[in-house]
């Protein structure tokens, strides 16, 4: 959650690069994220076993040479399920953020550009949305719509719309008073063209920077919802539901809960490191002189 930095100055990508490329935390986060993405993309090649293959004989086995992270209740290899689970988490997070970004930025830009009563109304709505905890919001939506991959993505996307709208609105208000926009209007450019072609590109870097942080939040929410049982239905492996299974067997099989937990932690941490470094690059005050 950003700390209300109303920095309206729009950042240039080249300047940003200089700022965050010096930050070692950025590279750590980027490295971790790269590893996870590679693992997810090449899952079929990396996973030692079929994640769905049940092996009743080898149920609930602790980590061993054959099953590096142990097996679960149905004898399935935890490591392989973990690897395939990365796909779900990353995809859900990415798609949800993409949707939230599109809808949120549109709302933010339109509200900021049009101003007046519409803007006030939208701001009020955003404040209401923002003040509601993401988990509870997602929980309510997913509970009502039913558990499925689609609904999960929708629920998470809805929780992340408001931050994007906020971050798109502030620069729009500043930009619309700049000369090049006024000149454009004088030339007869319609509002859609101005918003899309002139205002939007200037926001992109700010929006992309924040999306890393919010993707971390999205994946956290996804894991939580999956844990509660509102995520992708079985037998698809997702980290959240694996932890749920681990929780149900917590006294006997600690490995079922620990490894997916670490996976989530590392992924969210990587995105946070990345996002923090990027955000510090935009806001000089937080860089600590």
């Amino acid at each position: 959650m950003t700390i209300g930095v109303a920095s309206v100055a729009v950042s240039q990508p080249s300047r940003l690069w200089l700022a965050f490329s010096r930050n070692p935390l950025f590279w750590l986060g980027a490295l971790l994220l790269a590893i996870i993405i590679v693992v997810a993309v090449f899952a079929p090649l990396i996973a030692p076993h079929d994640p769905l293959e049940q092996n009743i004989v080898a149920r609930l086995e602790p980590p061993s040479a054959e099953f590096l992270f142990g097996t679960d209740n149905y004898g399935r290899d935890v490591l392989s399920r973990l690897i395939y689970g990365a796909r779900v988490s990353l995809m859900v997070g990415f798609v949800a953020i993409l949707i939230a970004m599109t809808i949120g930025c549109t709302i933010g830009i339109v509200a900021g550009y049009v101003g007046g009563a519409l803007d006030q109304l939208v701001m009020g709505g955003l404040d209401v949305l923002l003040s509601f905890p993401a988990l509870l919001l997602g929980l309510m939506i997913a509970a009502m719509l039913g558990a499925s991959l689609q609904n999960l993505i929708i629920a998470i996307a809805i929780t992340e719309i408001a931050p994007f709208a906020r971050v798109a609105r502030a620069p729009t208000i500043a930009l619309k008073q700049q000369d090049f926009v006024i000149a454009g209007r004088a030339l007869g450019f319609g509002p859609v063209r101005i918003m899309g072609v002139h205002i939007l590109p200037n926001l992109i870097s700010d929006v992309v920077v924040m999306s890393s942080l919010w993707m971390a939040s999205a994946i956290r929410t996804e894991a939580s919802l999956s844990f509660i049982g509102l995520g992708v239905p079985p037998p698809t492996p997702t980290w959240g539901s694996m932890i749920r299974e681990g929780f149900d067997n917590i006294l006997d099989a600690w490995w079922l809960a620990v490894f997916p937990s670490l996976a989530i932690l590392v992924t969210v941490l990587a995105l946070n490191l990345l996002g923090d470094a990027l955000r510090d690059a935009i806001d000089p005050k937080l860089r600590g002189e």
């Binding site: 009020g124 939580s224 600690w254 809960a257």
Partner: protein, 334 residues
């Protein structure tokens, strides 16, 4: 006749004077703002609940229900009325505190909530204490240290803390400290022995509290860093104010104000995290309640709980805003 008139005008006089007080009028305005927000949320919940696929009546009565009983159930639930009437009914019921009956237990929603409320409040208070008592000093030290080892360590620690989803950290704590090391009980005990209850409270409170602490450290650090760079700190130094007094009297007063707001806004997330924590540690509370309602498809209880959560969030946000208005003189004396 004149007596009545004077008492009315006295009332308005007092009212106007009371409102004239900047603090009271600020609080009043803020309260007024909360009402439309609440309305919007209630409407959203209303819409959401009615989005449930399938007919609520058949969900409740099951597949074997006869057409007649389905119709009767619908009439009972008020589902045969036009949507506007249903909406008004809905609002009316919320206002009168009638949130319906739990489908699984038969008790009213309000009763269910009251049963578990003390436990949730205990947990939340303990978590807040841990988070603030540990987080504030660390954040202040980190800002004062500024790129020293304390700074880097606390930044890393708080980043890691913020990356944990609450249920993940809860599970890890459970595994390490309760199951493997056995320092704390795995299940919350019902015993009346205060020591036992404290032991049961410890891990869940730590879970919530440590995550809150991570957040507080970050916010405090950045706020204090901002304050320490301000001109008036330099003026105070130029006056001969010693470093200790500089921090305690000048920097803290200004630096902590935004922390109040941000922590207040965090309450929403705290509620969310406490839901997960209660599930993990099997503690009675609003979290367990919602979990149970989900599993049992108890939509009435779910709806009621959502309304209660919405009210809590709005109340907490309003209180935070009012507190902020009270401590920042720039808001008080406009």
């Amino acid at each position: 006749m004149s007596g009545e008139k004077s008492s009315v005008s006295t009332f308005w006089l007092v009212f106007a004077n009371v409102l004239g007080d900047p603090v009271i009028s600020f609080a009043f305005k803020r309260l007024l703002l909360a009402i439309p927000t609440l309305l919007v949320m209630l409407t959203a919940i209303f819409v959401l609940v009615r989005l449930v696929p399938g007919d609520a009546a058949s969900v409740i009565l099951g597949d074997q229900a006869t057409e007649a009983s389905l119709r009767a159930m619908r009439a009972r639930l008020g589902l045969d009325q036009p949507i506007q009437i249903q909406y008004l009914h809905f609002l009316g019921e919320v206002l009168t505190g009638n949130l319906g009956q739990s489908l699984s237990s038969g008790r009213t929603v309000v009763q269910e909530v009251l049963l578990v409320l003390p436990s949730t409040i205990q947990l939340t208070l303990a978590a807040i204490v841990i988070g603030i008592v540990l987080g504030l000093p660390l954040g202040i030290l980190a800002a004062l240290g500024r790129n020293s080892w304390i700074d880097y360590v606390s930044r890393l620690v708080s980043l890691v803390g913020l990356s944990f989803p609450a249920f993940v950290s809860g599970i890890l704590l459970l595994i390490v400290f309760a199951i493997q090391l056995g320092w704390f009980p795995v299940l919350t005990s019902d015993s009346t022995d205060p020591l036992e209850r404290l032991r049961s409270l410890a891990l869940p409170a730590l879970n919530l509290g440590l995550i809150l602490m991570a957040y507080v450290v970050r916010v405090t650090r950045s706020s204090m860093l901002g304050v320490l760079g301000e001109d008036y700190i330099r003026t105070a130094r130029a006056k001969g104010v010693t470093p200790t007094r500089l921090v305690m009297r000048h920097a803290l007063r200004n630096g902590l104000i935004p922390v109040v707001t941000v922590v207040g806004l965090y309450f929403g997330t705290l509620i969310g995290n406490s839901v997960l924590t209660e599930i993990i540690f099997n503690r009675p509370g609003l979290g367990k309640l919602i979990f149970g309602a989900l599993n049992a498809r108890d939509y009435t209880l779910l709806e009621g709980l959502m309304i209660i959560f919405a009210i809590c969030v709005i109340v907490l946000n309003t209180l935070t805003d009012i507190t902020y208005g009270l401590i920042d003189p720039r808001v008080k004396y406009k």
